[in-house]
């Protein structure tokens, strides 16, 4: 987008007061949950600090940890593919799945590289599923359809002929879950994202809906898509990182899914058979797409982001313009679009930042969002 186009779009969204009301109310609910979580689970604070240290250690030596991850994942039976850029990631994904239908759990990294645009990719996250029917795009990391109302969800379901008793969110969720349940068994291919990738050979995801586990368990061929900034040394580090994401997205404790390569059993005569009831093949597409390019710039700060999306919810601009940013939205999106889309995208997006720094106040990774993108703009 050019600056003028962005400003025009901002004005259009700002006039949609009903969207602002939806987001404002969601923010209040989310903030209340996060405050309660932090009060009740005192370990979160020390874990948060630990995750900052882990992330900084990995980013400081990213090339080394990428190699470690490759080695560790392969040792556990993952087929590791390294994608330099978005096109590379799409090509590798297509080579693995061909035209087969792929059940996908929400992955903003898959969205970043355009994997979700393939017609054979079928969204299973409830928010992403509604968006896919409406040909709409996600606006938030953990709540992708937060700008849509229950009425919008109902209309989406009508479009595909799904009967719903009412527009009560409970009825809508049940109808969607029931519709999706049948779809899981129509294919043997699945795709999940990665909250964290442990170099010990595992991928960790947190989830609320249960769709990640369904995808990860019911697929015979599972593809994991993850940016290289998600790499952490150990499985324990990966769990901690994922839990921090969940806690600051307002969900804790939460379901955790650990994928440690293809399933296996040695129940018969203790002979190891790879490929049991879950995936027989697990592919890990590790994506660079600009990440390594920024490790010596101020944008490296953004590589610490755990994608909880709290900075978006706390941002007065994003609340009124939820599509602020082309791939990644809101405050974190300024830096992240600088990483994955390039400098010009970042410069255009930051034009709407008021420099109020409400984002910095709530970031669990203590990212100096405004300071970092301003410094990055001045570096070139």
């Amino acid at each position: 987008l050019e600056l003028n186009e962005l400003l025009k779009l901002a004005e259009e969204w700002a006039r949609r007061e009903e969207v602002y009301e939806l987001i404002k109310n969601a923010n209040v609910r989310s903030e209340e949950r996060i405050i309660k979580i932090k009060e009740r689970f005192k370990e979160i604070e020390s874990m948060r600090r630990e995750v900052i240290e882990i992330k900084e250690r990995v980013i400081a030596n990213l090339d080394y940890w990428v190699e470690e991850a490759k080695r560790g994942l392969e040792a556990k039976g993952f087929q590791v593919h390294f994608a330099e850029n978005a096109e590379d990631a799409r090509r590798k994904f297509k080579e693995i799945v061909g035209d087969n239908k792929v059940m996908a759990s929400k992955s903003l990294t898959a969205w970043e590289v355009g994997i979700n645009e393939f017609e054979n990719v079928f969204e299973t996250d409830i928010g992403m599923f509604i968006l896919s029917i409406l040909k709409d795009s996600p606006v938030h990391n953990t709540a992708p359809a937060i700008h849509l109302s229950r009425r919008d969800a109902l209309n989406a379901l009508k479009k595909i002929g799904v009967e719903v008793e009412s527009d009560d969110p409970k009825d809508l969720v049940r109808a969607i879950a029931s519709y999706l349940r049948e779809k899981y068994c129509e294919t043997e291919y699945g795709m999940v994202g990665a909250n964290a990738v442990a170099t010990e050979g595992a991928v960790v995801n947190v989830e609320g809906e249960g769709n990640v586990r369904l995808v990860a368990s019911l697929s015979k061929t599972l593809i994991v898509v993850g940016g290289i900034e998600k790499i952490v040394p150990t499985v324990v580090d990966a769990v901690k990182t994922s839990l921090i994401q969940a806690a600051f997205a307002g969900r804790y404790p939460i379901q955790i899914n650990v994928i440690a390569g293809p399933t296996a059993t040695s129940d018969i005569e203790r002979i190891l058979v790879r490929g049991a009831q879950g995936p027989h093949e697990v592919h890990m597409i590790l994506i660079d797409n600009g990440r390594r390019r920024v490790v010596n710039t101020s944008l490296k700060e953004f590589l610490k982001c755990v994608r909880c999306g709290r900075c978006l919810l706390n941002c007065p601009v994003w609340q009124r313009f939820p599509k602020w940013g082309e791939v990644y939205r809101g405050p974190m999106g300024i830096g992240w679009n600088g990483i994955v889309k390039g400098r010009e995208a970042m410069i255009v997006q930051q034009s709407l930042c008021t420099r109020c720094e409400k984002c910095k106040e709530v970031c669990p990774m203590e990212i100096n969002i405004v300071g970092s993108f301003e410094r990055a703009m001045l570096e070139a």
Binding site: P316, V317, R320, Q350, S351, E374
Partner: protein, 197 residues
């Protein structure tokens, strides 16, 4: 509201003649950063000029030094993507201000620019104070750059509808503010005056 006029005002401010800074006299100097000149692209020009005159006279009466031919601060150049021009201007401003020891600014946007962007990236070392500290008056609304709520003034020229929505959300009905841009924006929904004027 006219983005074109706003950009034009910035370009005019950039063309302003730069005078030599006075020798340091151990007193603070008023550095407006020409913010009022840039904001004169708005419909509130006449009132802003009046406010400015009153505040400036009060500050001069309290011994604040005058800077003739001061450089434009570069406010909003980053937002508008004028990166290279901003860098040149920032260096000019820092070289100009550093020998002065202490400056007083008239708005939180210039305050943040000096204390954060210039201090962290261009080596600005002067002590920066907001003008209301010298007038011993307290504003009724601080604004986000000084730790308060965000009133949306920053987006008054770039995204007026977002700015208006934010001004409503603040819930501020009547009182004194310290930011001319906050004043421009909040006056659409509140009875506001600029503190000290």
């Amino acid at each position: 509201l006219d983005l074109g006029r706003f950009k034009q005002a910035i370009e005019e401010a950039l063309r302003g003649r730069l005078w030599e800074p006075p020798s340091r006299e151990g007193r603070p100097y008023l550095y407006t950063g020409l913010i009022y000149q840039v904001l004169s692209a708005s419909s509130g020009k006449k009132e802003l000029d009046e406010y400015l005159k009153i505040i400036v006279n009060k500050l001069f009466n309290r011994g604040v030094g005058h800077l003739e031919g001061e450089p434009y601060s570069g406010a909003f150049m980053l937002e508008l993507g004028m990166i290279q021009e901003f860098k040149k201007q920032a260096e000019k401003v820092v070289n100009y201000l550093n020998p002065l020891g202490e400056v007083v600014v008239l708005d939180p946007i210039t305050y943040r620019l000096l204390t954060t962007t210039f201090a962290e990236n261009f080596g600005l070392k002067v002590n920066v104070r907001m003008y209301h500290e010298l007038l011993n008056e307290k504003p009724d609304f601080l604004g986000c750059k000084l730790g308060g709520k965000c009133c949306g003034g920053h987006l008054y020229f770039l995204a007026p509808t977002i700015a208006l929505s934010m001004s409503k959300e603040v819930g501020f009905k009547k009182g004194k503010v310290i930011c001319p841009l906050g004043w421009l924006n909040l006056r659409r929904v509140s009875e506001v005056e600029i503190l000290g004027a």
